[in-house]
């Protein structure tokens, strides 16, 4: 191991708190998932603490360990689409200095948004969601009568849900017409 690498490790470990996750992984801010993974593998080959397990200098090993923990942190956030979207927007904004590391609040926000999306799309009650998703599967498979039954069940839990009603109208239109009149 040459001296210039030692200097680089010392500099990088000291500068971590001024770097965003893209800089930690040495990639562009708009990197796509495949590039992020490739960068993670590339940086792991350089900074993986196992590589320096036999180095006696404890300070150096501590610095490498610190860098590598941050690489893992960066990868954890950037490999996830929802987290990456939020993070990219945050570090490009005016709050950048405070947003370099993904915080608990950011995490909660991403999770909250995901939950809101499910609720919006799939219904507000567990039972409503259950019947609605069953209905969607039925509709996909062309079982319109089953879809209609499931949607009616879903609507008993959430009578006001507009999306459920929309789907029900669709199912009613598509299901085979039956004629109950006695001829």
């Amino acid at each position: 191991m040459d001296e210039s690498f030692r200097i680089e490790v010392e500099r990088l470990s000291g500068a971590l708190d001024q770097l965003d996750y893209f800089a930690v992984l040495k990639i562009e801010a708009g990197a796509i998932p495949a590039e992020i993974r490739a960068a993670y593998h590339r940086e792991s080959r350089i900074y993986h603490p196992d590589r320096y397990a036999t180095v006696d200098d404890e300070t150096f090993r501590g610095q490498v360990a610190r860098i590598y923990r941050r690489i893992n942190e960066a990868y954890t956030v950037l490999r996830d689409d929802a987290r990456r979207r939020k993070y990219s927007a945050d570090v490009a904004g005016p709050d950048r200095p405070r947003k370099l590391r993904f915080s608990e609040e950011d995490e909660a926000e991403v999770k909250g948004a995901a939950k809101r999306r499910t609720v919006e799309q799939m219904g507000q009650t567990p039972n409503g969601r259950r019947f609605f998703s069953a209905a969607l599967a039925d509709a996909q498979a062309g079982r319109w009568e089953a879809a209609e039954r499931n949607l009616r069940m879903a609507l008993t839990y959430e009578p006001g849900n507009e999306r459920f009603k929309e789907q029900l109208a669709l199912a009613e239109k598509n299901r085979p017409k039956q004629d109950f009149r006695i001829k």
Binding site: D2, R37, H41, R45, P49, Y52, A53
Partner: protein
């Protein structure tokens, strides 16, 4: 050079193996009898020596009370856990309660912690390696199931220290298997490791990019293994026997052991030959003194029906791992089977059906984990790695969500499952009373929002920070998961930057002093069948 030899040890529920890296490839070491795997059974003999391995396994029946097996099912667990209760009912050895809800095993007058029992298995592995290599062995990489929690990992590490080994690393069994499979092959693949052991089941999904082995997701069940298959056969045999003779074999621990042995043998026979003939002469006596034999025949179809639900359970775990990895079964390029129960045709067929792919051939399911551990042991000892790079890099993840307890019995997530390790995360806590001089936090691992449904790791108490009004003192607590998957917690006062001192309460683990004294005791133990060192 002798201190540069490091071995890889697969410390299994039923069987263990030891391997080392010689001439560029991993090699499983055999004992003097040429055996490559060794029963994880510890038998305490009358002369004070301890017998470990396949010969100790034969003592389960003749020296039942003094023979301990399947200790891994108990390691790192609390005395009140279901697994321990179940073990108490079926194990012939005595399981007693230790301090802080810990589990102890009592053999005669001796009371041993579970890591002490595992340490005796490790001592045997060390002795086998030393005999085979002709050198002293002081360092090792030891494997554990990927789904092991912090308590179980810590206990495994303690076992190594008690055995007088420097534990270079605890690595996950499926990761070790993947390493042994992909090592030196220069492949780029997505693989799934399906690891059904004696007592645990793990699935890991990895992306191998030449020398990098990245674990994308892992899932498991630490209550599912080959032993459960044996149990099914035992239950069937016992029910049938009871119907015929009116005697319940499960009431007597001696009969139960014979039954267990018969069940295990039947499972192996039916897997290999498609049928099994079970015959145990004189398994018990009726109250009238009549000696009864156990005789039965088991066909493959009947066996498959008995265990189908267990096999199905493994695929629920596979579903979970694939979902976490955001993949489907068709994204997997290769499936690797690990663990002896994966030799069963029912398991192989089901795996083929699930992944629509033949599992990789040419991999020895009993040895691949020890081989992977040996590769990693050698990598951690490689002095030229720092300059030239390594031949393999393991990028592993934490299998369980790390949580802190909050008011009302909830547990709030800190580090999600499947996060790459080593990793750290900080959280700020504050005091809730004026003049409060200590802060306590309880740490859990698990997937439930309710604290009681998660595994309790310990209570950390921080003190030595500034004393102020409530809400005024901010304490930053840093949770770190290291490369072994072991959790460390530390705290600093946000304002002064002063590190608070930490004490761990309520942990069922061993203290430094316990380990020291256990290690001294372990060193004195003479292993039967080895020359005293």
């Amino acid at each position: 050079m002798s201190d540069d030899i490091a071995v890889g040890i697969d410390l299994g529920t039923s069987y263990s193996a030891v391997a080392t890296f010689i001439d560029g490839k991993p090699e499983v070491l055999t004992n003097e009898w040429g055996e490559r795997t060794h029963a994880s059974v510890v038998s305490f003999l009358e002369d004070g020596t301890v017998l470990v391995g396949n010969s100790a396994k034969r003592n389960i029946i003749t020296n039942a009370e003094n023979t301990v097996y399947s200790a891994k099912r108990l390691i790192g667990r609390f005395f009140f856990s279901d697994e321990v209760k179940k073990a108490q009912a079926v194990m012939p050895y005595r399981i007693v309660e230790g301090p802080n809800n810990a589990v102890r095993v009592q053999v005669g007058e001796r009371v041993l912690a579970i890591p002490e029992v595992s340490a005796l298995v490790l001592k045997e592995m060390k002795a086998i390696a030393e005999t085979a290599l002709g050198h002293e062995v002081r360092k090792a990489v030891v494997t554990c199931p990927a789904y092991f929690n912090d308590n179980q990992r810590q206990a495994t590490k303690d076992a190594g220290r008690i055995a007088g080994l420097e534990i270079l690393r605890i690595i996950n069994e499926p990761t070790a298997a993947a390493l042994a499979y992909g090592f030196g092959k220069d492949i780029s693949q997505r693989i799934c490791v399906y690891d059904l052991g004696g007592g645990t089941f793990d699935v890991s999904i990895l992306e191998i990019g030449r020398d990098v082995f990245e674990v994308i997701a892992t899932a498991g069940d630490t209550y599912l293994g080959g032993d459960d298959f044996d149990d099914r056969i035992m239950a069937w045999l016992a029910d049938d026997f009871q119907a015929k003779h009116g005697v319940d074999l499960r009431q007597n621990k001696f009969c139960l052991q014979m039954l267990k042995e018969a069940g295990e043998k039947a499972k192996i026979d039916v897997g290999r030959d498609g049928q099994a003939v079970i015959k145990v002469e004189g398994i018990c006596q009726t109250p009238e003194g009549q000696v009864l034999d156990l005789e039965q025949a088991l066909g493959a179809d009947q066996f498959n029906r008995m265990v189908m639900d267990l096999v199905q359970r493994t695929f629920k775990v596979c579903d979970e791992a694939l979902q976490s990895a955001r993949m489907t079964a068709s994204d997997i390029d290769a499936v690797i089977l690990v663990g002896a129960p994966t030799r069963l045709p029912i398991v192989r067929q089901s795996v083929r059906h699930y992944f629509q792919k033949d599992p990789m051939a040419g991999i020895n399911p009993d040895e691949v984990v020890a081989q992977g551990a040996a590769i990693q042991a050698s990598a951690l000892q490689n002095r030229s790695a720092a300059a030239g790079g390594q031949t393999s890099y393991l990028l592993d993840v934490t299998p369980l969500t790390l949580r802190v307890g909050t008011a009302g019995g909830w547990a709030e997530p800190i580090i999600d499952k499947n996060t790459p390790i080593p990793i750290e995360k900080s959280k700020t806590f504050t005091t809730s009373r004026d003049g409060q001089d200590r802060v306590r936090i309880r740490v859990y691992q698990g997937e439930s929002k309710k604290a009681e449904e998660c595994e309790f790791l310990g209570e950390f108490e921080f003190s030595g920070f500034r004393v102020g009004y409530r809400g005024e003192v901010l304490i930053q607590v840093t949770f770190e998961i290291d490369s072994n998957g072991i959790v460390n917690v530390s705290a600093t006062d946000n304002e002064t930057g002063q590190k608070a001192s930490t004490t761990i309460n309520l942990s069922s683990g061993l203290t430094e002093a316990d380990i020291k004294s256990a290690s001294d005791k372990n060193a004195e133990v003479v292993l039967a069948g080895h020359p005293a060192s």
